[in-house]
Amino acid sequence: MSGDTVTHTTTDAPAPDPGSGIMAFDAGFLAPGPRPRRRRTRSLWAGLWPKLLALGLVLLVWQIAVWTEFRPSYALASPADSFAQLWKDAGTWHFWHSVLTTMRRALLGFLLSVGVGFVVGFAVARVKLLRAAVGSMITALQTMPSIAWFPLAILLYKLTESAIMFVVVIGAAPSIANGVIAGVDYVPPLLLKAGRNIGARGFQLYYRVIAPASLPSIVAGLKQGWAFSWRSLMAGELLVSIAGQPSLGANLNFAREFNDAPGLIATMIVILVIGLGVDTVFGFADRAIRRRWGITDA
């Protein structure tokens, strides 16, 4: 038989490693085999080392830029300085207080945005009149920069947490609503018909058929919504510094105001780490959906 003949040989077990939920369009994806449990730690490591490598590369490029001194040290902070700063910060109450305050606001703001986004999204997707009236407004609102809302926020809520929440919600809810609308719009008509035929009407049709069917798109919208809410929050925290409530947004701005390069980078690292953490949560949700729907067998 010639060389380009397809030959599939496998002995027990060592099927292609699905690599902790990572999908690839090679035989490994299309033909997953059994994955023994005892490989857990090995696959954890398999998922970790590329991240560490990427991190190492970034640090290396950065350090080289510092070594070559193509910019003076006050213009370009070194990794050592930045991490020293981070380490120092991490020892202060102020730092943890900032992180907690901001995380609390982020979660609350995100939840509010999700609530508003879902209601608006489903309402617009469902009610013809609303869609015609405000459908195209949603993307337009999304493009409005946070600072444009500051006067209105202060007008409505004075210098309170609510003003910050207002900025966050108005920044993130449209994005989530858009995810919901996109999801609802792309529900396969066959599933809709099937749902209607088996007796799902009105709210039930939404709850039992349309919502689960649009879950992938909704999760994607939530992810984008998180990014919007976080960025709006960073802006909103500049709006009001409530007495005794330090925050990451304020820290970021102060570091910038003071041209404190190591401090700025230290805060950026904190933001990145939180972002990575949140992405992990979304990653789990995403993979759970994919596994249940049989889109990956990992």
């Binding site: 035929n197 799902a200 039992r208 729907w293 049989g294």
Partner: protein, 244 residues
Amino acid sequence: MISIREVSRTFGHGPEAVTALDRLSLDVSPGEFVCIVGASGCGKSTLLSLVAGLDTPSSGIIEAGPNPALMFQEPALFPWLTVAGNVGLPLKLRKVPRPAREARVAELLATVNLSDFAGKRPHELSGGMRQRVALARTLALDSPVLLMDEPFGALDAMTRDLLHDELERITQERGLTVLFVTHNVREAARLGDRIVLLSSRPGRLKWQGSVDIPRPRRIDSPEVSALAAEVTDRLREEVAQHVG
């Protein structure tokens, strides 16, 4: 129970338009089992969709009982639910209490011989298994009117024979009205009280005849074979006008 009067359905506009059904009239009396045969693309699925109220005719009037249960040509299972979840959903929507629901689901899954697969998801099933889950889900609707679009198309002969018996038992017991689309003329002769033949595009009523073979019938009985041969001849005649 089902009354179809001068119903037409055209898809698209202008020169591209396809007329799937053309002034079709058909009545199905309560408890009757009507089999529809016709060439591929003659409008059978369109007709069932109209009767189920999932599509609106371009012209004409359709009356059907409340909530006719439609078994689609494709399985149309919900990928996010398990087999049991799919079969149980119509019951859940009717607010059947949990113990009753679970018992009913188990019974239906036993009927379609899939008890072992209650916890699997649709993507883990074979084509024929999916079709059987869809059948169980349709039966779970407990509707007095059943619309079935090639419900046994993906099944092997044996499983099909068993399900023929089951379906016959259920329809007789509950006096269901059935509109049953099939490509298998023997199947039509085995199950139907009446066989309706649609013409090729546009779908018109070409011929119909009642099946006078006494029940219980067997699919390989000489009477069924003879009737099937007769209908096949008529069908062949019809298709021959269009193809080739």
